[in-house]
């Protein structure tokens, strides 16, 4: 891959982003140099994405940026929108978050790479095709050009997106939450790729809420909170000696640094699965699996995405049939006391209904008292004022705590927490997990914790079931056949 030889720094000085209600991002000053990448850390809503969008020139309508953003000597903010758009794919390229959504589902991968050569760089159709093949080969996808995105694993989609940025051959690469939705193995693969980009002399500017990603990339780290840059410095310094309280909280929220939970005395078995087997699309997910969750116990199911973790939980709950084997739930307990906490809180609430209404409906349906809901809300440290908002108007962490309250209203004996904290930022994750642990200790709730985060499982679970299968929507055989062996199949 060639990178433009005329490389200069990206420097951001006094950047503010304002909307109708006033400034959202205030006075941010940062820089990116060749060999010295920049990673912005922060929770959703902290303004880190707005900084990236201001650099890209893709701020949502109604938001304006002020200050200076200089790339290769020109001030980007001074240029009109049409001129800035001309720079996309030429001087700046974007590595999108969740690339399996960012790739056109109806177009083969080779075509999606080739069109950058064809329509951005104005090359002939044949040359574009050949160059696209080279770009795909660079990321180990030289035999995947004829696949559609839905035929590829998440990791392959991520590599295809990187091939597209190679086709752009731009000096600056903005990676927007590049590890969102990826499990640990895939995450490490992406970080490796980004380090290769850095080594090749590209300016790399990454947005993430994953502290481990920031640490692995090195260079400079900025930490954003409420639209301000609260910490900024070389990666080792920020991570080893954080100055701002939020940075400290962020680092402490990493499950790897937590204290291991002391296992409690387990009670009677609540859910028992014997010799469970399940196949999906002709592929066996697990066979002969025995699992037992007792009162007061947390059992983790750990494994990469696509290995059947969620399916196992659903089988135990009775939401999905087992291929073979038996599931026994504690006798005399009604099915509604076996509850599930979903991965994506906004998807688990009706979007146009206030939280109060959602909880009141549940209280009414089951003939409970509103006082019980109020007590739970207080217990989960949620303010009364949040009740009159809609799910989209509160943070993911708050919404997940409401989801927990909603489940607890029904006095569950068993809770299946399906990646319940994986979409939360680390600080919110820690809050939700701590509350869950309190509930387990006080009520003897049995928890099945499905997660791809081995550290989290290690710290809080009494026992763990490891489901170790390749993360892929294609079978492992297809995945092996499509990669050259130069790169790990992630």
């Amino acid at each position: 891959m060639n990178v433009a030889t005329d490389m200069r720094d990206l420097s951001i000085a006094g950047l503010s982003v304002s909307g109708g209600a006033g400034p959202i991002v205030r006075d941010v000053t940062l820089s990116v140099r060749p060999g010295q990448p920049l990673t912005l850390l922060g929770e959703s809503g902290s303004g880190k994405s707005l900084v990236a969008q201001a650099v890209m020139g893709s701020l949502p309508p109604g938001l304006t940026a002020s200050g200076h953003i200089r790339l290769a000597g020109t001030d980007l903010l001074a240029a009109p929108a049409a001129v800035r758009r001309k720079g996309w794919g030429r001087t700046i390229s974007l590595l999108p978050q969740e690339p399996w959504l960012a790739l056109d589902p109806t177009m083969r991968i080779a075509g999606q790479v080739a069109e950058v050569h064809r329509f951005v760089h104005g090359r002939s159709a044949q040359e574009s095709r050949l160059r696209a093949e080279e770009n795909l080969a660079e990321v180990g996808l030289d035999r995947a050009g004829t696949l559609y995105p839905f035929q590829m694993s998440g990791g392959m989609c991520q590599r295809a997106a990187i091939a597209i940025t190679h086709a752009s051959d731009s000096a600056l690469l903005i990676a927007d939450e590049p590890t969102k939705g990826l499990d640990a193995a895939l995450r490490d693969g992406v970080v490796e790729r980004l380090k290769q980009e850095i080594a090749a002399g590209r300016l790399v500017f990454t947005i993430t809420h994953d502290v481990a990603v920031a640490g692995a990339l090195g260079g400079m780290i900025g930490v954003m909170l409420d639209g301000r840059l609260v910490d900024y410095g070389p990666a080792e310094e920020v991570l080893s000696a954080p100055t701002h309280p939020y940075t400290k909280a962020l680092l402490a929220a990493d499950p790897a640094t937590w204290q291991r939970r002391v296992p409690t005395q387990a009670g009677a078995p609540v859910v028992t699965g014997r010799a469970l087997a399940k196949a999906y699309g002709g592929r066996s997910l697990f066979e002969g699996l025995d699992i037992e969750v007792s009162a007061g116990e947390i059992v983790a199911v750990v494994g990469p995405s696509g290995c059947g973790k969620t399916t196992l939980g659903n089988i135990l709950l009775g939401l999905a049939p087992a291929g073979s084997g038996t599931v026994e739930r504690q006798g005399g307990v009604p099915p509604v006391r076996f509850q599930k906490l979903y991965q994506d809180p906004p998807a688990a609430f009706a979007p146009h209904q206030t939280i109060r209404r959602a909880l009141a409906d549940l209280v009414g349906l089951h003939g409970l008292s509103w006082g019980k809901a109020e007590a739970l809300i207080a217990r989960l440290r949620l303010g009364e004022h949040l009740l009159d908002r809609r799910p989209g108007e509160i943070s993911g962490g708050e919404l997940q705590r409401f989801a927990l309250a909603r489940g607890l209203l029904l006095d569950p004996v068993f809770l299946f927490a399906d990646e319940a904290t994986s979409r939360l930022d680390p600080v919110s994750q820690k809050e939700v997990v701590e509350l869950l642990l309190e509930i387990v200790r006080d009520t003897g709730l049995a928890v099945l914790l499905v997660t791809h985060d081995g550290a989290l499982a290690d710290k809080i679970a009494d026992r763990a079931v490891l489901l170790d299968r390749p993360a892929a929507w294609v079978s492992r055989r297809a995945c092996d056949a499509l990669t050259t062996g130069l790169a790990p199949c992630f």
Binding site: L94, P96, D104, V116, Y148, F150
Partner: protein
């Protein structure tokens, strides 16, 4: 592919059986003496006498018990023999050829005109939701859809045939005769297909892959052409299939209005005259068109959307 065709053939057979049974049952359930009505249809209202009716009854075996008549019909249907019209005595298949042919011309003309209006207006509206094209399209769509086709047809006759005198108000034979009935149908179709297209385009324009196509640096026209239209076409094609079917049904009203001798016209007359073989023949032809259209739509959707191909 083979499985796809076999499944569709089975579907067609099932449609034939259901249509045959239902239309036979429905015709039996109607009040009045069938022989009397057929006699009137055949020999004119003056011949509506008991004698003429008895003659018809005997000739056509209408006096036999109905299960015998029904089994007879199913047997001839299985031989792909649609029988003869009870009224004209001509083979039903010959009548269908003429009338279905005429209807298909009308339906095709209407669909083509609606395609030139609906999806185009929808794409313009969907690329800029709440822009002027979107608002204008919504207003036009609501007003056109609020008017029943026969009122819309009458308005068009008034304007283009009577006031302006550009086109004939009714008739059949030339392309000029086709314009007004086709336009009447097309405006109703475009009113809805434009909104369906608008929503599909707006949904694609919000999709992450559409944003990424822009961020890749592709010019806007290329983004729309390569990443917008194909994705937006997936729901629109399914909807257009429904419309094509609505068309074949909708022509019943519009053909009668414009005295256009198509299959809808034929169906109405066959029902009035209790011409059982004609009713069943036309209903069967419509049912089979339904199967053929859905098969075409599914094939087109699979061509547009690779995910459907792999699911099969």
């Amino acid at each position: 592919m083979r499985r796809f065709l076999l499944a569709r053939l089975a579907q067609a057979g099932l449609v034939a059986l259901v249509v045959g049974t239902l239309s036979f049952a429905l015709m039996r359930a109607l009040p009045g003496d069938a022989a009397m009505r057929i006699a009137a249809g055949r020999y004119g209202p003056d011949a509506m006498t008991g004698q003429a009716a008895d003659k018809v009854r005997l000739e056509l075996g209408l006096d036999r018990p109905w299960p015998a008549q029904f089994l007879d019909w199913l047997e001839t249907l299985a031989r792909l023999d649609l029988g003869h019209s009870l009224v004209t005595g001509a083979p039903v298949i010959e009548e269908l050829k003429v009338q279905l042919g005429a209807s298909l011309w009308l339906a095709a003309a209407a669909l083509l005109i609606s395609l030139a209006i609906g999806p185009v207006a929808g794409v313009l509206a969907g690329l800029r939701p709440t822009g002027w094209a979107d608002r204008l399209g919504l207003a036009a769509s609501v007003s056109l859809r609020a008017v029943p086709p026969f009122v819309l047809g009458l308005v068009l006759i008034l304007v283009f045939a009577i006031w302006l005198g550009w086109l004939p108000p009714a008739g059949f034979g030339t392309a000029r005769d086709l314009v007004l009935p086709a336009l009447t149908l097309a405006l109703g179709l475009a009113a809805v297909s434009s909104r369906v297209t608008r929503d599909a385009v707006a949904a694609v324009a919000r999709a992450p892959h559409f944003a990424f196509a822009r961020h890749k640096g592709l010019p806007e026209a290329v983004v729309v052409r390569r990443h917008g239209l194909r994705n937006a076409a997936i729901p629109v094609v399914s909807y257009l299939g429904l419309q094509a079917i609505y068309l074949v049904e909708g022509v019943v009203v519009v053909e009668s209005l414009f005295a256009y001798p198509g299959i809808g016209h034929a169906l109405v007359h066959a029902i009035v005259e209790r011409d059982i073989p004609m009713v069943q023949g036309t209903a069967l032809a419509m049912g089979l068109i339904f199967v053929a259209v859905t098969a075409c739509v599914d094939a087109a959707s699979a061509w547009l959307d690779p995910r459907l191909r792999s699911a099969r």
